[in-house]
Amino acid sequence: MSGIDARVLTISPDRPFRASITTFGALAWSGFRRYSTYRQATIAGSFTNIVFGFLRCYVLLAVAAGAVGNRPGGYDATQLVTYVWVGQGLLAVVGMWGWTDLADRIRTGDIASDLLRPVPPLVSYLAADLGRALHAVLTRFIGPLLAGVVFFELYRPHRPQTVPLFAISALLAVIGSFGCRYLVNATAYWLHDARGVQMLWTLGSGVLAGLSFPLRLLPEWAVATLWVATPLPGLLQTPLDVLVERDEPVTQVGLVALQAVWAVVLLRLAHVVQRRAERKLVVQGG
């Protein structure tokens, strides 16, 4: 008999912690498996990320060539190149765009069956999203990184703690991105059609997360406001700054801590919004 059957993993009363972990793991694995079936989409997406990598990389290098001391925003050429190429890979891992599962299920009324499950939707979608992110790390992250290594000179981190800190920062970026997307999707509970909100999110999130250009190119006050008042720099800019060692070690740890604070705030907010929606939910569809 294969490992798949019709049993539902429920949270057992005698060993609640272990059962929760098992359930969470199973849901994450399902997210991983789901994305591993989209092989062609993975290839198509990587191709596009690589094209945009070239475009952004050349433009930023041209800016560096004309900037004071050849360091726009405090990055040298190899740091900029690394910022762009790792950013193109990380973009797919963080997955800011294109997730409309929750909004679609709210619109069609399928959300009703999610609410009957023993796992809250916030937890089950988070687990599946972490599985998706892990799949992206093993696939989508690699392509742009390889292109960067082959065609340009990438920055080698000097500090031993940089790579582990980058991994933590990237994980927090995925959680932060998930929290934002959950909130964006959840507007469908009230609006039914969340497309407008989704478009605004797609528009703002790319630029304000540091995808089009490193946010350090903006004036000081704008940088400070964005970092403290919004979770957006934590979705791309912070992990990339950590990797290219843009700041002193203490500042880097501080920025990652700020990401952690935002991750908690966003998940808490998503939880509250979900509760409010459940209290007044009218299921759509027939």
Binding site: F47, Y58, A62, G66, A67, G196, S212, F213, L218
Partner: protein, 284 residues
């Protein structure tokens, strides 16, 4: 709808009944208009985010020029002329044939079959079924950037340059339109082509938003000359500014650059027609 359906039934596009076809397109646009009005809040948000996208593209150029006086040997004003020309041309294409991107969805779900059974050509049907009225504001903004860029640059106006200034956005629009149709046609052969097309449509827009001197090696040769993106905004802008091409093309190249749209349209038409003939439905 039953009555109108009957009146179309006997008419064909190729026959003499053009009025019937126009009524049919008007019905498609009218349907879109009514569905849009029933989600007003969403439409307002879409209108805003659409113009916002172009605003951010232009803002990005300003942000980059905060760090340096010239990018690839061009000043901010000169670069904005290219950005504005691209923005204007791209929105012209995006507004008309941009939603052809959805072809892969129509092919995957089999909805394309419905369109093929109607007595209208598929391409205009796709265009009019989902005419993105939300992109209108964006067109105004794109045209404004181009206009301002022409005003702030010291263009040595001649009759030829006036003509070029008028034709260049149309050429850019036709060219991007051809790229939209061409990349959408991939779906006939490869349904899951997904984002590949974006690399050339949106990628092409990003490529032509900056002077092509910033790119290097085979990447520049591929996009600028092999695919023709170098003639969309860079070459016409050089001709308008009266600047020699640092990459060595003669001065007249800029004046004939908009003609690059013609072969692009020819290739796109060929790909589209071959694709439609190749299409055998999803079978579901």
């Amino acid at each position: 709808m039953a009555e109108t359906g009957e009146t179309w039934a006997g008419e064909t596009w190729a026959g003499g009944t053009r009025a019937g076809a126009i009524r049919a397109y008007a019905a498609l646009v009218g349907g879109k208009w009514r569905s849009m009005l029933s989600y007003r809040a969403s439409f307002a948000a879409e209108l805003l985010s659409n113009v916002g996208a172009t605003v951010l593209d232009v803002t990005t150029v300003f942000v980059l020029f905060r760090a340096t006086a010239t990018v690839g040997g061009f000043t901010l004003a000169e670069a904005i002329l290219m950005t504005g020309l691209t923005a204007f041309g791209f929105v012209l294409a995006d507004l008309t044939v941009g939603n052809i991107d959805d072809l892969k969805r129509y092919v995957r779900t089999g909805q394309l079959d419905t369109m093929l059974t109607r007595p209208l050509p598929v391409l205009p049907q796709l265009v009019f079924t989902d005419l993105p009225l939300r992109k209108l504001l964006r067109l105004v903004f794109g045209a404004a950037v181009y206009g301002v860029a022409l005003a702030v640059n010291d263009v040595p106006w001649t009759a030829g340059r006036v003509l070029l200034a008028a034709v260049a956005p149309l050429g850019a629009g036709l060219f991007f339109g051809a790229i939209f149709v061409l990349t959408a046609s991939f779906a006939f052969w490869w349904v899951e082509s997904g984002e590949i097309g974006n690399g050339f449509t949106y990628g092409g827009r990003d490529f032509t938003s900056y002077p092509i001197t910033v790119y290097a090696h085979w990447f520049r040769d591929l996009f600028a000359y092999a695919l023709g993106f170098g003639f969309v905004s860079y070459q016409p802008a050089l001709a308008l500014l009266g600047r020699a091409d640092p990459l060595g093309l003669p001065a007249w190249a800029g004046f004939v650059a908009p003609l690059v749209a013609l072969p692009a349209v020819a290739v796109a038409t060929l790909a589209w027609r071959t694709g439609i003939r190749h299409y055998r439905s999803t079978g579901s």
